[in-house]
């Protein structure tokens, strides 16, 4: 068998796809499922641009085989907004100019959501260490940290 059939749940919807045995989850998301929000910046887990949640755990989808997703729940950037309503993190990133080129932004938003889910009131230092695996080359991170704080504050008061 050259391919494997995988049944999974992506952003709440059940999804089935076939993949090669050595295909990464990132490649399957991008090339088989048309979910190109996760980006390949390095393919070696060093940049975080491909970040997704796998059964709630934050992972680099370039370091997961697509076949491993069998029976798993996957959440990607495409599932962060509720219809037309942006997630507070997305809104804060736009409002506070926390992106320039935007290539790292999907990965950072997925990672920041995972942080706020477990720690609704992080310090700047906690944000910086949590996001250390998400490289951004444009912003110098300053406005990213501020935007995460802004969103966290809005979510706490919501």
């Amino acid at each position: 068998m050259k391919t494997i059939q995988v049944a999974t749940t992506i952003n709440g919807d059940s999804a089935e796809f076939v993949c090669g045995h050595d295909e990464t989850l990132l490649d399957a998301l991008r090339n088989r499922l048309g979910l190109t929000g996760a980006k390949e910046g390095c393919g070696t887990g060093d940049c975080g641009a491909c970040s997704v949640r796998l059964d709630d755990r934050l992972v680099c989808s370039c370091l997961v085989l697509a076949a491993e997703a069998e029976g798993a729940r996957i959440d990607t950037i495409e599932g962060l907004a509720q219809g037309e309503t942006l997630h507070p993190l997305q809104q804060s990133f736009i409002d506070l100019a926390a992106l320039q080129c935007g290539i790292c932004t999907p990965g950072i938003l997925v990672a920041a959501k995972a942080l706020l889910d477990r720690n609704p009131e992080p310090t700047d230092t906690e944000i910086r260490y949590w996001l250390a695996g998400n490289l951004c080359r444009c912003t110098g991170y300053d406005k990213i940290v501020r935007a995460v704080q802004d969103a966290a504050a809005k979510m706490r008061s919501a």
């Binding site: 390949e40 907004a81 997305q90 990133f93 935007g102 910086r128 444009c138 110098g140």
Partner: protein
């Protein structure tokens, strides 16, 4: 176009911070970057690269690869069109020969560096493409290589390319020396004679990479009737078109290039690497071909910065007056001739008003990838060396480094070290703002040091086209031709809204493909907000004039009797007639009945880009037992002329500063004895991560550029210039030893600390 004489102008829209138009697409994952599109029947392109630093290519046998089922095309350098003569491609910050671009995309006679492309395949799947690369047999004759710039200058060094020296390079030097430049004025020896102290130091800086997170990617399609389409991430689609059309033997009009959203460039995406190769493969296979570089390929085979070796000699009087300054810059731009050292030689002393100054620049070939522009190319290295020596002189005399810089600062009327006389510039104001900033007077703890550096960049203008359409519903569409690399669509919309007197929300700016608008130079030289902004303002004025004419026609009065104010056409005075103003929306609504669609446009070569100065203050703490440097506090102060969208001006200042911090502390190209790059990945090419950094404080000053109606200056490049010396001066002061090599990686810092024990 000069600064609007009503320079006390009150801006209504420019200077605000509205959301960027591409924001939602980018936070939802919808924005399409280079690798995000596909085409029916698309093939996968892959490139075979030299494992050798320097080797003659005796033969390439592709027959086995071609015979592999699923392989649809294999190409080598022989597949490029025959070039009738050479030509120079001018990209503002990068001038290079078409022949060199071609030979860099696919090696012809020699592989000149580890990672140099030698052949490429297009296949049905990535697996087949990978297998096919292994079946290509390249017969290499391995040649001696040279990596280090100083070693490459020696007469007995291995010769990278012969016969490439520019005519002003004196005879008798290694053939690797290709370029020479000299700038300056005044009597150096008289200047040094007046000095109470002269410091002379030698510095080296490693090659670094722009480190954009998006690898190069493109999708090419060529049809049998000779037309082609190319989608790619680039800083300049017109430049890509012109180069690719020449290399393919096509007419420019038949090749349409569309710029994708771009995931960072910083200068590194102003050139082509994979695009001509994808076109060759697409033509040969008759199917669309997509090539996406791996991160390893990006490091090995795109364009890092020059590596540099620099000598600086500066004389200072006891009162802090610099009496003379001299610098010799030896840059290597890699395996092909490179003129970046000219900009370094011009920028080295640009911050100072000197009576005697001279800089000499040399470019040297080495077996490294060809340099590409990286934010203020050539300036960070030169200014690092100069600002380090100035700092050492200040320490020696016990003088305040800010006071010394103020005493010697270039100002309006200063004959710059590279020739021109400065117009209104913001260096003094920037230094004064640094002095007044609480950071500068905050106390330091033990083991801590504070470093200061000024920085400079020329900023460019260049060829620009903008088209502006007034829609019948009162909204405005702008078409411009420069990829938006950091929020420029927002800035362009802001300037159009300001000029037309309509809300920002009614303007939408789009980036054109090469078939939809006249030529635009690449997004470089901090030119977009300045030059595209200028063309947008002119296009808007063109449209306003046309709208005034329509109002005049409706009112039955002379065109000259109508003026534009607050977003509406009005009679110019009581004599012109008594008509209620017609807004843009009202004129637009009836445009089809008053003469047809209304549009403004502008095509020009934008001159008058204003130079930009910045001052950075940096506090560090050095662990004396490990050599680790922690950046505690960082402040960027810069003259923006006029900040159109202050958020994105701050973003440029912060991002540039952090790239400079990376350059100063950890980033470097590391080569082994075998001439192969040892750290072609983000694991060991260490860009700063979020936890390495403090917040980056910013102060924007607005000293209007006399060459722009709103006073705008480019801001994108200057911020990477000061961090190198700011960090080096801070570390040197913290450990009591002068650092002269970048990066200041922990082993080097610890070695310096040990030497001082």
């Amino acid at each position: 176009m000069a600064l609007d004489s009503s320079s006390k102008r009150v801006f209504k829209v420019v200077g605000t911070r509205p959301p960027r138009p591409d924001g939602v697409d980018k936070v939802t994952g919808r924005a399409l970057y280079g690798a995000d599109v596909s085409a029916p029947g698309m093939l996968v392109g892959r490139i075979l690269r030299s494992p050798h630093a320097h080797a003659r290519i005796r033969a390439i046998d592709t027959t086995a690869a071609e015979a592999l089922p699923g392989v649809k095309a294999v190409v080598t350098a022989r597949d490029f069109a025959r070039l009738e003569g050479d030509k120079i491609i001018d990209m503002g910050e990068d001038r290079t020969s078409l022949r060199d671009v071609r030979d860099n995309c696919l090696a012809r006679d020699k592989a000149l560096y580890d990672g140099h492309a030698v052949a490429a395949v297009a296949a049905l799947t990535p697996e087949i493409a990978r297998a096919a690369l292994k079946l290509i047999a390249v017969d290499y004759e391995i040649l001696p290589h040279v990596i280090d710039v100083d070693a490459a200058m020696r007469p007995d060094a291995p010769v990278v390319l012969a016969g490439r020296a520019h005519e002003n390079v004196p005879g008798g030097m290694s053939p690797n020396v290709t370029n020479h430049s000299e700038f300056g004025h005044g009597d150096l020896e008289a200047g040094f004679a007046q000095a109470d102290r002269i410091v002379e130091r030698s510095f080296t800086t490693a090659a670094t990479h722009q480190g954009y997170i998006e690898p190069h990617a493109c999708l090419a399609s060529v049809t049998g009737d000779g037309r082609a389409d190319l989608w790619c991430c680039t800083q300049g689609q017109y430049n890509v078109r012109d180069i690719c059309a020449d290399l393919m033997g096509m007419q420019a009009s038949q090749l349409r290039v569309t710029a994708s959203e771009i995931g960072g460039g910083f200068g590194g995406k102003t050139v082509v690497f994979i695009e001509p190769v994808a076109l060759l493969l697409a033509r040969k296979s008759g199917r669309p071909v997509k090539i996406v570089m791996s991160r390893e390929e990006v490091f090995r085979a795109t364009g890092p910065t020059v590596s540099a070796s620099i000598d600086v000699r500066i004389g200072m009087a006891r009162d802090g007056r610099i009496t003379a300054g001299e610098a010799v810059l030896r840059y290597s731009g890699g395996a092909f001739p490179c003129e970046t050292v000219d900009m370094g030689a011009q920028a080295a002393f640009a911050c100072y008003d000197l009576r005697a100054v001279r800089t000499l620049g040399w470019n040297v070939l080495t077996n490294r990838p060809k340099e590409a522009a990286y934010r203020a190319p050539g300036a960070p290295q030169a200014i690092y060396a100069v600002e380090s020596v100035v700092d050492e002189l200040c320490q020696g005399f016990g003088l305040d480094p800010l006071e010394v810089r103020l005493k010697n600062a270039a100002r309006k009327g200063t004959k710059s070290s590279y020739g021109p006389t400065f117009e209104a510039i913001g260096l003094e104001a920037t230094l004064e703002a640094a002095k007044a900033h609480p950071h500068y007077s905050a106390p330091l703890g033990p083991g801590q040091g504070r470093g200061l550096s000024a920085g400079f960049w020329f900023n460019f203008g260049g060829n620009t086209s903008v088209s502006l359409s007034v829609n019948t519903d009162g909204t405005v569409g702008i078409t411009e031709g420069n990829p938006d690399i950091g929020g420029s669509r927002a800035s362009i919309s802001l300037m159009a809204a300001e000029e037309l007197g309509i809300p920002y929300e009614r303007v939408r700016t789009a980036i054109a493909d090469t078939s939809s608008l006249g030529h635009n130079d690449v997004t470089d030289g901090s030119r977009v907000t300045f030059a595209v902004g200028l063309a947008t303002i002119k296009a808007a004025r063109d449209a306003k004039q046309k709208m005034c004419a329509r109002a005049a026609r409706i009112w039955g009065i002379d065109e000259e009797a109508v003026l534009w104010e607050d977003g509406a056409a009005k009679p110019s005075g009581p004599n012109a007639g008594d008509f209620p103003p017609m807004t843009l929306a009202e004129i637009a609504a009836v445009s089809f009945k008053t003469g047809g669609p209304i549009a403004g446009h502008n095509e020009a070569h934008a001159d008058g880009a204003g130079v930009s100065f910045g001052v950075h203050i940096c506090d560090v703490e050095v662990d004396r037992e490990t050599g680790a440097t922690k950046v505690l506090r960082y402040t960027v102060i810069q003259d923006a002329g006029k900040a159109v969208h202050p958020d994105y001006v701050e973003g440029q200042m912060q991002g540039g500063a952090v790239q400079g911090i990376g350059w100063a502390l950890n980033e470097e190209y590391i080569y082994g004895e075998d001439g192969r790059l040892q750290n072609a990945g983000f694991l060991d090419y260490r860009v700063p991560v979020a936890s390495d950094l403090p917040n980056i404080d910013t102060v924007i000053l607005e000293i209007p550029n006399p060459g722009h109606p709103y006073g705008v200056r480019g801001v994108g490049e200057t911020p990477i210039v000061p961090p190198l010396a700011a960090l080096s001066n801070a570390v040197s002061r913290a450990i009591g030893q002068r650092m002269t090599r970048l990066p200041m990686s922990p082993p080097r810092v610890l070695e310096a600390i040990n030497a001082g024990r």
